[in-house]
């Protein structure tokens, strides 16, 4: 046990809680870099990971910002340092590394240590790798899901039923959420939906909804919106729901380690954390989508259903066509326009997106028991046709802080445009969704809300030479030029 003077430094690790000690003092105390010490101050106590430096005065300890945000230490105050034992989580990670199965308590301890930053990134990575090499049993997956949900914040609505949906992703547009949420809410079903922003695509649901209303809500704000309107469409990253999952995803990314159990837990923890009772999962299959074979899709489907049962959530999984974009606009404003056209029964609303959203909403309505099996899609259609879905959508937009009266024609679409015309007569045989995404990204999406492209033709449509296949929209000439260059590199459609 030693006494040192605390010095606050304005540095943030972004991850673990770090302190810096003088090398000589650390050596005397047999403290090595990456060891853990406990800092006991009058304002509280915290465990931190040690870095060493020869340049720090021997009687000082330097605290990263994360630490002095946690405990109240006036600069220069004397604090007590004790050496902390290795956290239990490390023992359990080693157990998994030896191929043994973990108990519920062990998984919880690991996840809460990762979430609370008492494990370093390197230590946490050992857990990710262990899950990758040995896999996770369905029981471990269940424990992991619960632990991720329970160590983060939770949305406590205290109502039932609560619907939720998730799409495995990788398909441009596919903005079913923005149609399903108002249909369900209009039917009287709670549906507190969190969505992600684009990572590699031209828009995520959160980016698209943001064209119409703020999406960066806290859990309290989200709760208020849902209790008022029954639905919401907010950005998941703005809440602390299932926050451990964000850390696991960050570790998985560099080596693309996606152990199936972690992928399942990642999705279901977010549903569990909002208290969902009925969950519909959409797995699009396509050679450029995230899931590329029906075999993989069925394997995922059966695991999702089993995990759902264990979590006491009614879970259904549909496998859908992921071979081409769903909808016609690609990019935040262009996709929002498609959604508004559908909700306002405008004939320009893309039929494929409308039909997919209606059938998914129908399944959820059936699962919940609002209608008999087979009648859900009729009710969903009726809710859109009658204008009730649009009315509900406007309520949600307003509750989130947006302008409910915004019209499709009010949306600002990029002024710099380029038409890509068919070089010949024929039929669209294939649309390369990766190239479509790349063109829209280079045009400025998702950062430039009005950027992207619009598809006049889909797979199976006939085109004549000189007929428009798509238009690129950009907010600056240079970005338009970039996008055109990408388009000219390789055509994004195959015409036969």
């Amino acid at each position: 046990m030693i006494r040192l003077k605390a010095r606050k430094i304005n540095v943030r690790s972004g991850g673990p809680d770090i302190v810096i000690l003088n090398e000589r003092i650390a050596k005397r105390e047999v403290i090595k870099p990456m060891d853990r010490i406990r800092i006991i101050a009058r304002g509280g106590s915290v465990v931190a990971i040690v870095n060493l430096s020869p340049e720090i005065p021997e009687d000082e300890i330097w605290l990263y910002k994360e630490i002095w945000e946690k405990i109240n230490v006036p600069d220069g105050e004397e604090v007590l340092i004790t050496i902390e034992e290795k956290p239990k989580a490390i023992e359990y990670i080693k157990k998994k590394l030896e191929g043994k199965e973990l108990s519920e308590e062990e998984v919880f301890e690991i996840v809460s240590s990762i979430n609370g930053n008492t494990l370093s990134e390197v230590e946490s990575m050992a857990f990710v790798v262990a899950c990758y090499t040995y896999g996770l049993s369905i029981e471990e997956t269940y424990y992991l899901t619960k632990a991720i949900a329970e160590t983060g914040e939770k949305l406590e609505l205290n109502v039932r039923p609560i619907a939720d949906k998730h799409c495995i992703g990788g398909v441009p547009n596919n903005r079913t959420t923005m149609i399903i949420v108002p249909i369900l809410a209009a039917a009287g079903v709670y549906i507190p939906k969190t969505s992600s922003r684009a990572i590699t695509t031209p828009a995520g649901t959160a980016d698209t909804m943001e064209v119409l209303a703020p999406v960066d809500l806290s859990i309290e704000e989200m709760k208020e919106v849902v209790l008022k309107t029954k639905g919401c469409i907010v950005w998941g990253g703005g809440t602390n729901l299932a926050s451990a999952d964000d850390k696991l995803i960050r570790l998985r990314r560099p080596l693309s380690l996606d152990p199936m159990g972690m992928v399942l837990a990642s999705v279901m923890a977010k549903k569990y954390a909002v208290g969902a009772t009925h969950v519909l999962i959409d797995i699009p299959v396509g050679k450029r989508a995230k899931v590329r074979s029906f075999r993989d899709a069925y394997e995922l489907k059966s695991r999702f259903e089993r995990l759902g049962r264990m979590l006491d959530m009614k879970t259904e999984v549909i496998i859908t066509d992921g071979s081409q974009p769903i909808g016609k606009g690609i990019g935040p404003a262009l996709e929002a326009r498609d959604v508004l056209w559908i909700l306002t029964n405008d004939e320009r609303g893309p039929f494929d997106l409308r039909e997919k959203a209606e059938s998914m909403a129908g399944i959820l309505l059936e699962m919940i028991g609002k209608v008999e099996r087979g009648e859900g899609i009729m009710l969903a259609k009726e809710i859109i046709n009658s204008g009730k879905a649009y009315q509900k959508f406007k309520e949600i937009v307003e509750a989130q802080g947006g302008d409910p009266n915004i019209k499709p024609e009010d949306l600002s679409i990029g002024e710099y445009r380029y038409d890509f015309l068919s070089p010949r007569n024929g039929m669209i045989a294939e649309i390369d969704v990766r190239r479509i995404s790349k063109i829209a990204r280079y045009a400025g999406a998702p950062m430039d809300k009005g950027a992207g492209l619009y598809l006049y033709k889909k797979v199976g449509d006939f085109v004549k030479a000189g007929e428009k296949i798509l238009t690129i929209f950009a907010e600056s000439e240079s970005k338009l030029d970039y996008a055109i260059k990408i388009l000219e590199e390789k055509e994004p459609v195959e015409i036969i």
Copy 2:
């Protein structure tokens, strides 16, 4: 490809090469945190790992100190940024994570990426974990050894034979190196020895040698000493020999992941890097030593011998008694005094240490062919008895920059002393080496060179009530008190 203004920041990651980009720009360019980019400046090009911040101007890129030490970029100069593909090493780590065996090229690529900091710690950790869970074949161990040696600096003496030795460690004192090196060098054999500092023990060979001469030599200085005197005893951490190993050790430590192949490669790479042709490995076995069973010791022995053959180094392994300290002094100066007493044929030189060093030196002399099998120990004894070993030792001390005329009685031993007396008549049945180490550490070793303890009795010796068993030495009264407290907690010897 984008152009940004370089800003040099005075921050060092201590590991990977880091740059910070504006979040918005990164998003537009589809660059995510931990991605790699190449920075092309007029002064050169370098690959770095990306961190993001919303607070950095959109047209700037901030460079950590490691980067502007590598490439010459004036502050504010425009640099070109391109997105770098994932390094090949990541693909190979994933291959190992799938349980497949790696080729020589693949292992080399991984080790050189770890050594060159083109892999992040999290990515490198995945390799360590993969080696732990799947193990390393003897071929992979061989590739790993060579890769560690070849990616670091090497000592190029261009002579043969070159002797080397290694002890698996965990036994207090046991300073055979400081006796073997002068014997071998006096017999005309090159023996460029690098040693470690104490990590958890009261002294490493480097700490002990440092009482007599500087040990923090560069490779060039080390070479000069060896070419002049045939031997040296320097600190391995001061050179860049086998530097990748230091990084691997740092990753292995938090979870105590010691895959046998990595332990073997770690030892042998350092021998390979100094060009050793004849290597003797000492594996002490004892219930408190690093190796605790003869079974493990024999397993290690056979792997060391096999690896040695593959590396074209004649390698012998001896299994020795690790149940109690070898020698009588514990702590840098006290151990150095034992060594000087032995080399000067003083009767106070501890017999067990002398005998162990003589027999190890003898084996090396036999391996090299200086004498027939069975006659090595005689030659070793003769070299000590004649004073040739001491003469050579003084030459080495002088060449390293120490005072060759220092006498055992000149060594400064802690003035604060405490005698631990036997509470009763009996025989020493056991010495707890961990407690002995702890007492010496609390007394101030290895930072206080004169601190430690001296053992008058060893296992098998008879003691009378009131007779001295050991004396603690400290350089301050408070440290002496600490050490006495540890001693009184639990007696470090068992008397029957």
